[in-house]
């Protein structure tokens, strides 16, 4: 017996009697003996106390981000974690329910999705957002396949900024290889930003879309209007990827500058770093492209008495109806993470998000200023380019060496930029959020000084 199995031994015997069977083995008679096993060789079962000890031992073997001044980013950020977010996520009505296919008993989840779609729409500047995708990298993949569909499969080329998160580019390669789509990479200029002329030339009239990240992998804010123009000239769709969603508190989303898709990662909105997942992919596009959009969508309607009600809609795009012709094979999405982001955004509020983003910016600028003042080997890779809350720092050694040595100085300094290659110099990508106090910044600078 086990507490998570509802029937005890007596119950099982009782049901067997009802069914006219002698043993439970009779129910498995259709499984051929040659594929059966007597017993799995798994570690012995543990009670709750044993579980707690086992898992605490594994958890304690990791260095928790909060234990030291922490400047890790590169697509995963440490922002505010209001207690209300986890309190709402812990409600069984949300976390133990299924996809809201039965709207009459799922209005809670459906209204949350509708609010999430609206919030993402307002932040990205595009009217239609879906109910979430797996993560930022797969949201980008979906954006590329979406663009390919919108242009009716006639353009088999994608132009991608090298300053798109390199891990995202690798994920994209996995899918474009299978889909037979060619990828052309445009490197940044000396200031770490894209040159619209290079984008224009690369896209010409052959690309289905141009994908760029802003703020880009190096933390630098791209000039969205000129890049949208350069993209549209040859008829391609412009796709903005955002990996630090809090930047949207200060920077207008690409929709305001004629971008056709804004997608990316919304982990910054109240979701734990969690060693990389579960996070929250988001995707927003124009009204006219809604039928090509991947993923679930909640819509407003009425019940039979005329009350406002919500339900999943345009399901005919999805796999369970369209099967082989679906826009995507996605089924399960990141519903609970979309709830987390919705609670977080609603707790922080509109003015609050702006203030929070401004706090990130101010702290990042302060750290940049203090570094620029240092004598010695430390310098900013792109000192004159605008950044939101992340920047590339160069020092006396390779990125991984510097990160290790600064960890010795009790600072989690950032992410080495050479992990995935790239045309930029080898250094540390440093992210600063509202949770980095002046004393964190002081500790960082002191650790740098020690290593000079």
């Amino acid at each position: 017996m086990h507490p998570w199995v509802g029937a005890g031994n007596d119950d099982q015997r009782h049901i067997l009697t009802l069914l006219g069977l002698k043993t439970v083995d009779d129910l498995f008679a259709s499984i051929p003996a040659e594929v059966c096993t007597e017993r799995l060789d798994l570690p012995p079962a543990q009670d709750e106390d044993g579980i707690r000890k086992t898992f605490a031992a594994m958890a304690n073997a990791n260095a928790v981000m909060d234990s030291l001044p922490c400047f890790l980013g590169a697509g995963v950020y440490r922002h505010l974690q209001p207690a209300v977010v986890d309190a709402v996520l812990s409600r069984a009505e949300f976390f133990t329910s299924y996809t809201p296919y039965q709207p009459e008993i799922s209005q809670g989840t459906l209204q949350v999705i509708f609010e999430f779609q609206t919030l993402i729409g307002r932040l990205t500047g595009l009217p239609v957002a879906n109910a979430s995708l797996y993560d930022g990298a797969t949201a980008l993949v979906e954006a590329v396949l979406f663009s390919h569909r919108v242009l009716r499969g006639k353009r088999n080329l994608v132009v991608v900024a090298e300053t798109l998160h390199p891990m995202y580019r690798k994920v994209l390669d996995t899918y474009t290889t299978a889909a037979g789509i060619e990828v052309v990479v445009v490197p940044p200029t000396d200031d770490g930003r894209l040159d619209p002329e290079q984008v224009r030339a690369a896209a010409s009239d052959r690309a289905c879309c141009v994908v760029l990240q802003s703020p880009n992998f190096l933390g630098i804010v791209e000039d969205l209007p000129s890049l949208a123009d350069a993209t549209h000239e040859g008829g391609a769709l412009a796709v903005q990827v955002v990996t630090e969603a809090v930047s949207l508190g200060l920077l207008a989303g690409g929709g305001d500058f004629e971008f056709d898709v804004v997608c990316g990662e919304a982990q910054s909105f109240g979701i734990a770093p969690g060693f990389g997942g579960p996070h929250l992919g988001f995707f927003a596009c124009a009204d006219r492209h809604v039928r090509q959009m991947p993923g679930r969508l909640a819509g407003e309607t009425m019940d039979e008495e005329g009350n406002r009600a919500f339900c999943l809609t345009l399901s005919t795009r999805e796999q369970h109806i369209r099967r082989a012709k679906a826009t995507s094979n996605i089924c399960t999405n990141q519903g609970l993470m979309a709830l987390a982001a919705t609670v977080w955004l609603e707790a922080v509020g509109g003015a609050g998000l702006r203030e929070l983003a401004a706090s990130c910016l101010a702290r990042s600028e302060e750290l940049k200023r203090r570094i620029a003042e240092l004598d010695g080997p430390w310098r900013l890779a792109y000192p004159s380019s605008p950044t939101f809350n992340e920047f590339l720092l160069l020092g006396p050694g390779t990125g991984p060496e510097l990160v290790d040595r600064l960890a010795g100085g009790k600072v989690l300094a950032g992410v080495p930029t050479a992990t995935w290659g790239g045309s930029w110099p080898d250094g540390i990508l440093v992210a600063v959020t509202e949770r980095n106090s002046a004393s964190d910044i002081g500790a960082f600078v002191a650790a740098l000084e020690k290593l000079s």
């Binding site: 039928r291 399901s315 005919t316 109806i321 369209r322 012709k325």
Partner: protein, 127 residues
Amino acid sequence: MSLPAELLYGRSHEWIRVEGDAVVIGITNYAQDQLGEVVYVELPEVGTGVATGEELGTLESVKAVSEFLAPVGGEVIGVNERLEDEPNLVNEDPYGAGWLVKISGSAEGEDFLDAEAYQQFLEQESG
């Protein structure tokens, strides 16, 4: 709903009306009933060339999508633009305001049923 005698019918439940060198195409009352309430109609672009039996577009209900095929080959010379905002016309007036596409082409040589034969065909199918 009785079957209009002036139309010709295909075995995949579409109807055609010959208008000089062109044919107007729609789906039958039986087809719209099977599909349920139509919420969206995807129509081809005017000027598209199609062969007999090729997909012309799709009709979507809440729970299903079905393709409709070109009963005759030719060039699309007109589409029912009202369906963009009023897809329900396919349900409410399948033989009139709910028409789908107009093709320049001829029904010559294609195998269509008249109203009476289509009625018999329906009875056999559901039989």
